[in-house]
């Protein structure tokens, strides 16, 4: 009898939430032209939100822009080397999702509306 391999389910770690106080800072390198490079520093915590694929609307809930950006001003690679490398399983083939699904911060208070 042929061996039947699972094609609808895979072994993976449970989802994870992550809590830490100060929002992350992430830099991004932009190369607009082959002769020169411009480095664009963008704080990932305040980047444009992802879009809900079902509704087409940004995944942006609640109030914002009540105060300045409160994320860290320096980073040592935690987002790319830490968060994005924490995968659901050790398999490196396609379809391996990130283990951490939500990052939740504090630090930014916002001021009350008049």
């Amino acid at each position: 009898m042929d061996q039947i391999t699972p094609d609808t389910r895979r072994l993976a770690k449970p989802n994870a939430l992550m809590f830490f106080h100060i929002p992350l800072y992430v830099s991004r390198l932009v190369i607009p032209h082959k002769l020169f490079m411009i480095t664009s520093f963008r704080e990932e915590s305040y980047a444009a939100p992802d879009v809900d694929p079902n509704t087409g609307r940004p995944l942006d809930v609640g109030l914002h822009d009540l105060e300045g950006q409160g994320s860290a001003r320096k980073q040592d690679g935690f987002f790319h080397k830490g968060l994005l490398q924490a995968l659901e399983s050790d398999h490196r083939a396609g379809g391996n999702a990130k283990e951490v699904k939500v990052v939740s911060n504090g630090h930014c208070h916002g001021q009350s509306l008049p």
Binding site: T8, L17, M18, H21, I22, A72, G82, S104, N105, G106
Partner: protein, 205 residues
Amino acid sequence: MQIADLHFSVSSGVCRDTPLAPCTGSDNLTSTLLSRMLDAEQPDLVVFSGDQLNGQGTAWDARSVLAKFARSVTERGIPWAAVFGNHDDEDGDTRESQIKYMQGLPYSLVQAGPKDIHGVGNYLLKVMSADSLVVLNLMAVSSQWFAVGLIVFFHRSKTHLLTLYFLDSGSYSKGFLNWFGLFVPTEYDWIHQVSAPASPHWHDV
């Protein structure tokens, strides 16, 4: 439920950034609000995400502030966890000593975390399924008197459903170290090491 930036003081607190006027005893007002929200939401777990203490010269007796910040939660018997913010150790009491105080409070799940990881309070918690006791095996045995007995094994089939990571994102610069929101390799190496699947489960593709 996440509770962020309580900024409690030794005193009853000074109101700020609120249209409420007059406003006095901000910590008491905050606790009242927390109680209402906890009764409305009835969470299974509360996470305090830093700056439980206001610092800035107002939290000079950390133990007394820590004794009151979680009272609304502990009075309801709700387990809770916490991470540090940038103000928590501003007025003298170290993060290490505050962890010990918090661990002494009721329903606290706070951990100090590994000492070789940058910061204090880097730990993880696992949310398990609420399975009841399950009968696993039934075994019939015959004794020397040819009686047949049953040995019933019970065990909990708890499944690891969710992982919660808690990390210390640092505080303001002290001396030459600028630790404000800066994670260093010990922390992101740690989340890879510690997240080995003890009991992984199946995901639908």
